[in-house]
């Protein structure tokens, strides 16, 4: 088929209608922020925003992002390079150890640290816990990029007379730019959105302040004004990342090769590097887990008793969220993969902006929206599921889109030329081939939803207690023993999703 033919095909109208409707729904939180800003008017907004307290929050939040993101990038890229491109001893073990912090929700890690060293607090404590919890979000894409890089580039650089260090700086690092920017963006958004971890350490950011304002004055003007500023911060982060990325594209991946890439000899530095990685693993994994273990020994039967019910409710909510996210993701993923063009880009852009708002703003928006527009939906399971879809949609979108893109259109055409109707062709050919990607996307959403704390706290129907909110209720009441079984469950629930992400990265080379 001549190049460019696909560009001129138009997506089916029905599909576009669904994608537009879903995009409109996904933009409810953005609409809420804009509406809140306008409804308050400049004077009231200025009164609420230009206060010493907001200045303090702003300083904390900006410092957190400005210091936390570079730390996470250094840890993530450095770790990926060490396990993938050096002769690090036990590198397979370290490759897994470095991703393990992702299995521990940041608020559980925070609980581990705070219960071990009660004096940890403020910006320092927040930075320590959050950086250690979130650097794997840079590590994974960096690892994927390194595995996808063509070693021929490095070999050419070496043949031009560069040493190992120069190759890293001048050839490898520039190619990791996309991974660093993308990972850094995700870390920044997580830092802006994190509530539980910072609340524990008595470190105030916009997100923690909004929760406090919500508890005091509901979704009133104070919470809304803080929400407007937080949304602006997210927007600034998006713009900075987009500007730094320039014309580079995320989808660009080297063709890869069967040849193993050359590894840099660590030599006498090896013991020090191993030591540093062990310290990192201890701080990021061993300390939180050891403290969960310590408190588990202090539990009695009563502490375990509510766990079953909480797990069941978590499963119902997160499976519901996963299925709903797939339904929302499928039309836009299909359009993006099969009909690339302006429509697809515009819609994807809408989803992208919508899903970068923090969970707390999604929650505020849904509270306001349900109360004003559909009061029957307020504090219902449906609203919680809607929040999960909004927060975790990118996970479903990435998996489903990649899955659709992998299935050549020629398969459906072949089926049709064999006398099978277009619908049956999709059912008999496309659906079975898409199933693994759908399952992966659903798993990632479900496991993210199972750990979700902020929006669940605000939106869950009265009497609903998920594992995360159960943990939070116990831990914030300083009942560390009662929180431990929940913490263990949260970690166990996260393991499959992290294993799945890790496996997807490791599969890079075989493509």
């Amino acid at each position: 088929m001549p190049a460019g033919v696909a560009d001129r095909k138009r997506p089916p109208v029905g599909l576009v209608v669904f994608a537009v409707l879903f995009a409109a729904a996904a933009l409810i939180p953005v609409g809420y922020v804009i509406q809140a800003a306008f409804a308050m008017g400049w004077q009231q907004l200025a009164d609420l925003v230009f206060r010493p307290r907001v200045g303090e929050l702003l300083t904390n939040t900006v410092l957190l992002v400005v210091l936390g993101v570079p730390c996470a990038v250094v840890l993530g890229v450095g770790g990926a390079w060490l396990v993938e491109r050096t002769t690090l001893p036990a590198r397979r073990l370290f490759a897994v150890l470095l991703v393990m912090p992702l299995t521990i929700p940041a608020f559980v890690a925070s609980y581990g640290w705070a219960s071990a060293i009660p004096s940890i607090n403020g910006l320092g404590g927040g930075l320590l816990v959050a950086t250690l919890a979130y650097y794997p979000l840079v590590y994974l894409p960096a690892l994927a990029s390194l595995r996808g890089l063509d070693p021929a580039l490095e070999e050419s650089a070496r043949s031009l007379g560069m040493n190992g260090w120069q190759v890293f700086l001048r050839v490898i690092l520039p190619q990791l730019r996309l991974a660093m920017l993308g990972g850094g963006l995700v870390v920044a958004l997580h830092l802006l959105a994190e509530y539980g971890a910072f609340a524990f350490l008595r470190f105030e950011t916009f997100t923690t302040a909004i929760v406090v304002a919500y508890q005091a004055g509901f979704a009133g003007p104070n919470a809304a004004a803080l929400g407007v500023v937080l949304a602006m911060l997210c927007f600034v982060v998006l713009v900075i990342e987009a500007a730094a990325r320039g014309r580079l594209r995320y989808s660009r991946v080297g063709s890869g090769t069967q040849l193993p890439a050359p590894r840099v000899e660590l030599g006498r530095a090896a013991p020090f590097v191993v030591g540093a990685l062990l310290v990192l693993a201890t701080a990021a994994v061993a300390v939180p887990l050891a403290n969960v273990g310590r408190w588990l020994f202090a539990t009695d039967a009563a502490d375990w008793q509510p766990l079953l019910n909480a797990t069941w409710q978590t499963v119902v909510l997160s499976v519901g969220g996963a299925v709903a996210a797939l339904v929302v993701a499928l039309p836009i993923a299909w359009i993006a993969a099969r009909y690339p063009g302006r429509t697809a880009r515009t819609l994807e852009g809408a989803y992208y902006v919508a899903s970068s708002l923090p969970a707390i703003i999604v929650a505020l928006a849904l509270v306001t929206f349900t109360l004003r527009v559909v009061p029957a939906m307020y504090q219902t399971v449906a609203t919680v599921i809607a929040a999960y879809v909004l927060i975790f949609l990118p996970r479903a979108l990435v998996s489903v889109r990649a899955g659709v893109a992998q299935i050549p259109e020629g398969f459906e055409e072949a089926a049709r030329s064999l006398g099978v109707s277009p619908f049956m062709a999709k059912l008999r050919v496309t659906a079975p081939l898409l199933l693994p990607s759908l399952a992966a996307g659903a798993a990632l959403v479900a496991l993210g939803a199972a750990n979700e704390l902020t929006a669940t706290l605000l939106l869950a129907p009265t009497g609903t207690r998920t594992v995360a909110t159960g943990f939070w209720a116990a831990a914030s009441a300083i009942d560390y023993a009662a929180a431990a079984p929940y913490a263990l469950t949260l970690v166990l629930l996260s393991v499959p999703a992290v294993a799945l992400m890790f496996a997807q990265v490791k599969a890079r080379r075989s493509r």
Partner: protein, 360 residues
């Protein structure tokens, strides 16, 4: 009766891809369509298959209207099989599942699967294998078996051999051509490979820039290409300035030669086309004298550069077998004979659009 295209045109955006293409394919015959990449030949096939709709014109099969600018019958209701370049075998189905895909579930299904496998010389051991366990040539034969299984009226082949290695290609092509002629199904093959096009079908059509520039029996098209550009596209050709005489003969650098076809349309200045295979080189007198300027070994042959006339004359490259090369050392004057006649074309400016469209 036949598959009939009448004035089929198609454009993508403002870019025309097909321009009023018309032809008939008689039932049970094979047509090869050859053209350079981007000539619109794949689009033509996709219109016949029902994956694209023509902007103008009609496609009919046995007098049933399949497609026009306003109506179209869905691909799955046309009874037209299609084999894509890469085979497009369903990776989640075994060979049995793939071949049986278009056959309704019935007692006869398994028998039909085995029948088409036999027809395409596929071993029954392959039944439970998956596409990734097959070689490229086997995959293409499974794709053909799958397309043949529902007993279509027409089979369309879109460059089905181009992804295969050279050795495998000839073998697969032979097996597939045999299967197609045994099944007696009407077949259209699209290719950019002239050899393939010339050897495949009962009919050959040449397409350039979306237009059908010549059609006919392969031997006739090769013998009398409608234009110098088509002649060059279909195989190595030599052109020399010529002067036409009244008695179907022409005088050129190779002497006074018979004219097989005069396609110069009465042009004032003409050139004669001949194929390198018409030339033979000897050391006896009687032919046209030429000087061996250089000799270069190329595999089992030696390429001689022969210069005709003085330094201002023209030169051409001629291949002789290695074991004969010693007869033609550099500097030797040799004698060039031409067998068979020439085809005359008008002398045209070099920038002919059809020529650039056909350039491989």
């Amino acid at each position: 009766m036949s598959l009939q295209l009448t004035g089929v045109s198609k454009s993508f955006g403002s870019q025309p891809v097909l321009d009023r293409v018309s032809f008939d394919v008689e039932r049970g015959t094979r047509l090869a369509i050859v053209g350079a990449s981007g000539s619109g030949k794949s689009t033509l096939l996709r219109i016949i298959a029902g994956f694209e709709q023509p902007g103008a014109g009609e496609v009919r099969l046995d007098d049933r209207l399949l497609a026009s600018a306003t109506t179209t019958i869905s691909a799955h209701r046309r009874g037209i099989g299609y084999v894509a370049q890469d085979g497009a075998l369903f990776p989640h189905l075994s060979v049995r599942g793939n071949i049986g895909f278009g056959i309704p579930r019935s007692a006869a299904r398994e028998g039909r699967i085995r029948e088409v496998m036999e027809l395409t010389s596929l071993d029954a051991d392959f039944l439970d294998r998956y596409p990734h366990q097959l070689s490229g040539g086997q995959q293409q034969r499974v794709a053909l078996a799958r397309a043949l299984a529902p007993d279509p009226k027409v089979i369309l082949l879109d460059e089905p051999f181009s992804a295969l290695d050279t050795g495998l290609r000839a073998h697969t092509r032979a097996a597939m051509t045999r299967a197609l002629s045994q099944s007696g199904v009407t077949t259209i093959l699209v290719t950019h490979d002239q050899e393939e096009a010339l050897s495949f079908g009962d009919q050959l059509a040449v397409i350039a820039e979306g237009r059908l520039v010549q059609a006919g029996r392969p031997a006739e098209v090769f013998d009398a290409p409608a234009s110098a550009e088509i002649a060059e596209f279909l195989g190595a050709a030599l052109f020399v300035p010529a002067h036409a005489n009244a008695d179907a003969r022409a005088v050129c650098a190779f002497g006074d030669l018979p004219v097989r076809h005069d396609l110069s349309a009465g042009a004032r200045s003409v050139r004669a086309m001949l194929r390198p295979s018409q030339l033979s080189v000897g050391d006896n007198a009687g032919g046209t004298a030429a000087t061996v300027e250089s000799a270069r070994q190329s595999g089992s042959a030696v390429e001689l550069e022969l210069r005709f006339g003085s330094a201002a004359g023209f030169s051409l490259t001629h291949r002789v077998p290695l074991y004969e090369a010693h007869r033609f050392p550099v500097g030797r004057t040799v004698s060039v004979h031409v067998d068979g006649g020439v085809v005359l074309y008008p002398e045209t400016a070099a920038s002919d659009p059809v020529r650039s469209a056909l350039a491989p």
